[in-house]
Amino acid sequence: MLSMNEKELIEGALKGKPASQRGLFDRYAPTLMAVCLRYCKTRTEAEDALQESFMRIFDKLGQYNFQGSFEGWVRRLCVNVCLRTYQRKRATFEQSGLETIPESAMDPTAFSRLGEQELLDMVASLPEGYRIVFNLYAIEGYSHKEIGEALGIQEASSRSQLLKARKLLQQKIKTSQRIAI
């Protein structure tokens, strides 16, 4: 359900009012910036993606029918922009030869010692293909079928990328623990 203030902002932005557009930016930019940072390798890339996301949001605002979460709508639009940016850059998924690394059980307490920024840095350090699939599956909740459609890859490839991303993250967490000890 939209708050009155949010609805007014959307209606104002629909009419092209700069103040309303600025209001929407102030409200949603932090959330969307965090989304972009997870999908992009650098902060500069993330800001480019965020800028393009808002351009698309203002352009497509007429398609939002005031039903459902506006945050969910802008977030999905932002993810799509990030995916499109990624697809433009992608030639092939990066391979890192991790197929032989066994997926080992993790100490559940290992995560509790890690801060948000460290987790984010770990995700950001993943090869681009792994990072995208891990973000879409683990955080956004996409299915492998949806990921396959969004990225133009097979479902099996999506599963494979996810497994490799998890292995890499586990490896990074272990390394981080060793350094901490």
Binding site: P30, E47, L50, G141
Partner: protein
């Protein structure tokens, strides 16, 4: 399916995370939004103007071509009519134009061409009877003039008597005169076409009508020219007649050139692109600091009319592509001051256009397209440096090329006659695309444009 613990931890920690974007990000978005709003407004304005041009043209076309219906259209008959015939009764008119030698302008030639037009009062069924010889056949050796049978030619001192017949309104008589005018035009005569637009104006002269034919009908678009005067007298009996000294003789097309002069405002859309991601910041600095400004252009063209409505046009044009540069100048102990200045790219160009003008009434619509050769480009202004956030003059940076290469232009045009001297008012929506970058290859940001504008000017038939 149970969620993988790793996925759950990352989702819980990162899904609702927020991060602040840098301060200048909104400035970039706002700048792009301003440009979009400006572009939309201009597009609406151009669309409205184009629609108005089409509506006006359509109005004149419809106005000029719709026949007035009548309930009791009479039988069409040839032959002169009595001057006693009242306009309210079915009226048959005989329009007879014959050719004869210029040595004997007042005599009636045997090889005459007659255009017989019988008209009902308002039913307006028009027939043109083409008889033995065409004008073209005669023109080579006779140098003929068109004249009337002696009996039908008014004397030099011809003064229609108002009492013999109450004159019809100019509008009613227009089609009669149209038929007569068409009888004089070889092509249209052969095609049996009645085109009212060939008559530019009708003035009531006592009980007769003085008819003025549009100049370019005879002297450019058509096949005939008038020897002395552009006026012919329509007598009280509605017989289309010419005075001897106003005789019309067939000739070949002589004046094919028209001079056009147009000026007008334009909107220039700047397209910046970085040669690589390394120059992203330079690109951003320019995109957030440069905005479209009112541009303008003007051109002097010479148009050469080919057959069937086609034409070739060449000329010299000047285009000023302008942008507004905005940046903040730091002021000690105060808020920074917003500085605005105008950047301009000044182009001297040669347009080479192939055009086509649709047949029409007073308002004529046309299209033309072709390359525009850039003779010289001069850039004045500055751009914002990403490093210092201060302006750098174009001349310091070695940014712009001296020549922008080839552009492509597309014009729509609508013209309307101004008076009787072969001058027309010209309104011309125009669109140009400059596919080559205005910047030098060594400069990492390419700069291209498309320009949309509305030109207004005049077109003058050269004699």
């Amino acid at each position: 399916m149970s969620e993988h613990p790793l996925d759950r931890i990352f989702r819980e920690r990162l899904a609702s995370r927020k991060a602040g974007p840098t301060d200048h990000l909104w400035a970039g978005i706002a700048a792009k939004q301003r440009a979009i709003r400006l572009r939309r407004r201009l597009m609406y304005a151009v669309a409205i103007l184009a629609a108005l041009c089409i509506l006006i043209a359509g109005f004149f076309m419809v106005k000029g071509s719709v026949a007035i219906p009548t309930e009791d259209a009479p039988t069409i008959e040839q032959g002169p009519v009595s001057t006693e015939t009242p306009r309210s009764a079915p009226l048959a008119q005989h329009i007879d134009v014959s050719s004869s030698s210029t040595n004997d302008k007042s005599s009636l030639s045997d090889d005459r061409r007659s255009a017989s037009t019988s008209l009902a009062s308002a039913g307006r069924e028009v027939q043109i009877d083409n008889t033995t010889t065409t004008l073209a056949e005669q023109s080579s050796n006779l140098s003929p003039s068109l004249s009337l049978p002696q009996s039908q030619i008014p004397s030099q001192n011809f003064k229609p008597t108002p009492t013999t017949l109450s004159p019809p309104t100019p509008r009613e008589n227009l089609q009669d005169l149209t038929a007569a005018a068409n009888a004089l035009d070889e092509d249209k005569y052969a095609q049996n076409k009645i085109i009212e637009s060939d008559l530019q104006d009708i003035e009531l002269v006592e009980s007769g009508y003085e008819l003025s034919l549009r100049d370019d009908l005879f002297e450019s678009a058509g096949r005939l020219s008038r020897s002395k005067s552009d006026r012919m007298l329509i007598g009280e009996d509605y017989v289309f007649s010419t005075k001897a000294e106003h005789a019309i003789k067939p000739t070949r097309l002589k004046n094919r050139f028209e001079l056009e002069l147009t000026v007008g405002p334009a909107y220039s859309n700047q397209i910046l692109k970085a040669s690589s991601e390394l120059f992203r910041e330079d690109l951003d600095a320019r995109e957030i600091s440069e905005f479209p400004h009112l541009s303008y252009s003007g051109v002097v063209r010479l148009k050469y009319r080919l057959a069937n409505g086609f034409s070739l046009t060449g000329g010299v044009g000047y285009t000023a592509i302008r942008n507004r540069l905005e940046y903040e100048m730091p002021v000690p102990n105060e808020d920074p001051e917003l500085i605005e200045r105008t950047n301009a790219l000044r182009l001297i160009e040669i347009p080479l256009m192939l055009g086509y003008e649709f047949p029409g009434e007073k308002v004529k619509l046309g299209i033309s397209a072709g390359p525009v050769v850039n003779l010289s480009t001069q850039a004045d202004g500055a751009y914002l440096s990403a490093e210092t956030q201060m302006p750098v003059g174009f001349e310091e940076g070695g940014v712009y090329d001296q020549n922008a290469g080839l552009a492509w232009r597309f014009n729509l045009s609508a013209s309307y006659p101004l008076g009787r001297g072969g001058t027309r008012l010209l309104v011309e929506p125009t669109f140009s695309h400059y596919p080559r970058s205005f910047t030098q290859d060594s400069y990492p940001i390419s700069e291209r444009y498309w320009v949309a504008g509305l030109q207004v000017g005049i077109r003058k038939l050269l004699r």
